[in-house]
């Protein structure tokens, strides 16, 4: 029996240009099977292009895009194993939600029980009541959920989600995030999004793109330096910086008075992040310093800001 691939997705030196604009320049990264993976970057960074190449929508000019060890466009093999929520694809206005989902189920090979599978998928996005509605009559939020239902149809092994919460009001965005989280662990998820807090919350790993190149890739902990850095916000300074720097394992400590933020960098000799938080907080509290907040790492947002123009 074939062993399941270690990497659900593997981009190898992908280059794609649109006219004179190079959207992706020799981009490579792997997505571990079963992980939730984020594609991050500012507008024009190339994340939608990378996403579209993985989905088989675009042809790379050079390089290899593999999904489950097959070329992204090998639909005969990937059918029903790869599912996509495209960001800007309109639902067919002439069909009802039910007709659309049943057709999708048929196309991906669910011959018997297509309607049951479609209804189940729609119920999963809490849209069971929309079965007979025309797709053209759905609100943006409803259409997004129907699109999500088609992505969750059947049991796909890899689900690509392009901006799953873009344009949704906070309540619906929260619900959509909850739906995605429910899928986590059941399949490999690749999420392209501008919402960094969302990605930080959902993803195990990510790649940060800028100007068509990968500027950083790795686990979320690596990217946010969560295993090497802690940030503590205090009510008021000054802080005993010499004592902080003298703590075992601390390699560097900085205090920015304006932000009232203490950043402590450490190595493995100080234990893990939780040990270091304990040590620093004990020291600060013993000095009668009031604590406003504690964070492992620097936060994805700050990391992205540092890495991209």
């Amino acid at each position: 029996m074939d062993r399941p691939p270690v990497f659900a997705i593997s981009l190898q030196s992908i280059t794609k240009a649109f006219g004179s604009t190079v959207a992706l320049d020799a981009v490579s990264f792997d997505v571990t099977a079963g992980h939730a993976f984020g594609l991050i970057g500012p507008n024009g960074a190339g994340k939608t292009t990378a996403f579209s190449i993985i989905a088989g929508y675009l042809h790379p000019d050079s390089g290899l895009s593999l999904v489950l060890d097959h070329d992204s466009r090998a639909i005969d093999v990937l059918k029903a194993r790869l599912a996509v929520l495209p960001q800007d694809a309109l639902l067919p206005t002439y069909e009802t939600v039910g007709e659309f989902l049943v057709h999708m189920a048929h196309l991906q090979g669910i011959e018997t029980g297509a309607e049951a599978a479609a209804r189940q998928s729609l119920a999963e996005v809490e849209g069971a009541d929309w079965w007979s509605r025309r797709c053209g009559k759905l609100s943006h939020g409803m259409a997004k959920r129907v699109a999500l239902a088609q992505a969750f149809l059947g049991k796909p092994e890899v689900v690509l989600l392009d901006e799953p919460t873009a344009g949704l009001d906070p309540k619906i965005a929260f619900e959509v995030r909850a739906l995605i989280k429910k899928r986590k662990g059941r399949c490999t998820l690749v999420i392209s999004s501008h919402n960094l807090h969302e990605l930080e919350e959902i993803c195990d790993a990510a790649a940060i793109l800028d100007h068509g190149k990968i500027v950083a890739a790795g686990t979320m902990e690596d990217l946010t330096a969560a295993t090497r850095e802690i940030r503590i916000t205090v009510a008021r300074g000054p802080l005993p910086m010499d004592k902080v720097r003298a703590l075992p394992g601390v390699t560097r400590a900085d205090y920015v008075g304006q932000e009232r933020a203490l950043t402590v960098h450490f190595d493995a000799t100080g234990g893990d992040a939780e040990d270091m938080i304990g040590q620093v907080l004990t020291l600060l509290l013993s000095e009668k310093i009031r604590i406003s907040g504690v964070m492992k790492g620097k936060g994805l947002e700050q990391r992205v800001m540092e890495l991209t123009d």
């Binding site: 579209s52 989905a55 088989g56 929508y57 675009l58 042809h59 639909i75 005969d76 990937l78 059918k79 029903a80 790869l82 599912a83 996509v84 495209p86 800007d88 694809a89 309109l90 639902l91 067919p92 002439y94 069909e95 007709e99 057709h103 999708m104 048929h106 196309l107 991906q108 090979g109 011959e111 699109a147 088609q150």
Partner: protein
């Protein structure tokens, strides 16, 4: 799942979409009105013939002369003289109209999906070529059904008037309709090809009108060249006349002949035109970024 199943599901969806859309309904009504109008014209002509009290055999001889002159072929004239005149006339009229009717029905079939990117939902589930083939077959079936509706109108009027028996009506009407169906396959393929060349439906329609008009003009021009070459074989027209084979319209002469090999060849060539055009559309979509 096999490609055949993908084609089937795509085809069924496109039929549902077309017959339900405002354009599809409007086209259906137009076809029925066309059938009604054709029936009225037929009834009027038949009435004149009746008033003149022309014997049936004389009418058949007249028909033979007409079709002999039109097709420039004694065999075809004799063969078609047994068919109700109006059936053949309608077959000939549809031969010119079918390209444009097919274009009107199918011009947006591929390009609208590319424009709105709704094709993205399909291409992760089905082979691109089976999606395009399914769309092409759907256009073929729909136009064939509409042309059948138009024909049935005329058949019913013919039978009610007692101008042809049920057997003759069904035999000739069915035969000529089936030949139209073969011809529709050609234009369904060409329509889907036009539709795959752009993402803008209006551009696909415009391109289709230009190309299909070009085919019609090309067919007419090469027909005229053939006539000229017959009068003066040394004329340069004889060199250009073989270009007629490139135009699907030319094969009307082949499909209405009583000579089986020629008729089969005509049918095969027209179907091949359709298949080749659909294959070209598949190739275009397969190479495209969607």
């Amino acid at each position: 799942m096999s490609a055949v199943a993908e084609i089937k599901w795509t085809c069924l969806r496109e039929l549902r979409r077309n017959l339900r859309s405002a354009k599809g309904i409007a086209m259906s009504v137009l076809f029925l009105l066309g059938g009604g109008a054709a029936s009225l014209i037929y009834a009027a002509i038949a009435e004149i013939a009746l008033r003149k009290d022309i014997p049936a055999e004389a009418i058949r001889e007249q028909r033979q002369k007409v079709w002999e002159n039109v097709y420039d072929d004694l065999g075809i004239g004799q063969y078609l003289s047994h068919a109700p005149l109006f059936f053949v006339a309608m077959f000939k009229a549809l031969w010119w109209l079918i390209p444009f009717l097919t274009l009107m029905i199918g011009f947006e079939q591929v390009c609208a999906d590319l424009q709105h990117r709704s094709i993205r939902y399909d291409v992760v589930r089905a082979r691109r070529w089976s999606i395009v083939t399914g769309k092409s077959i759907a256009i073929w079936l729909e136009v064939s059904a509409l042309v059948l509706g138009l024909n049935v109108f005329v058949w019913i009027v013919t039978m009610i008037r007692g101008d042809a028996s049920f057997a003759v009506t069904l035999s000739w009407g069915g035969r000529l309709w089936l030949l139209n169906v073969v011809y529709i396959a050609t234009w369904a393929g060409l329509t889907v090809l036009m539709s795959s060349l752009t993402r803008r439906p209006i551009l696909a329609l415009f391109m289709g009108l230009v190309v299909f008009s070009g085919f019609a003009l090309g067919d007419l021009s090469t027909w005229a060249l053939t006539k000229a070459a017959a009068v003066d074989p040394t004329w340069w027209a004889s060199k250009l006349a073989p270009a007629r084979y490139a135009f699907p319209g030319f094969y009307q002469q082949w499909v209405v002949t009583p000579k089986a090999p020629e008729m089969i060849s005509g049918i095969v060539i027209l179907l091949a035109f359709g298949a080749a055009s659909t294959a070209a559309a598949c190739w275009v979509v397969n190479r495209s970024d969607v």
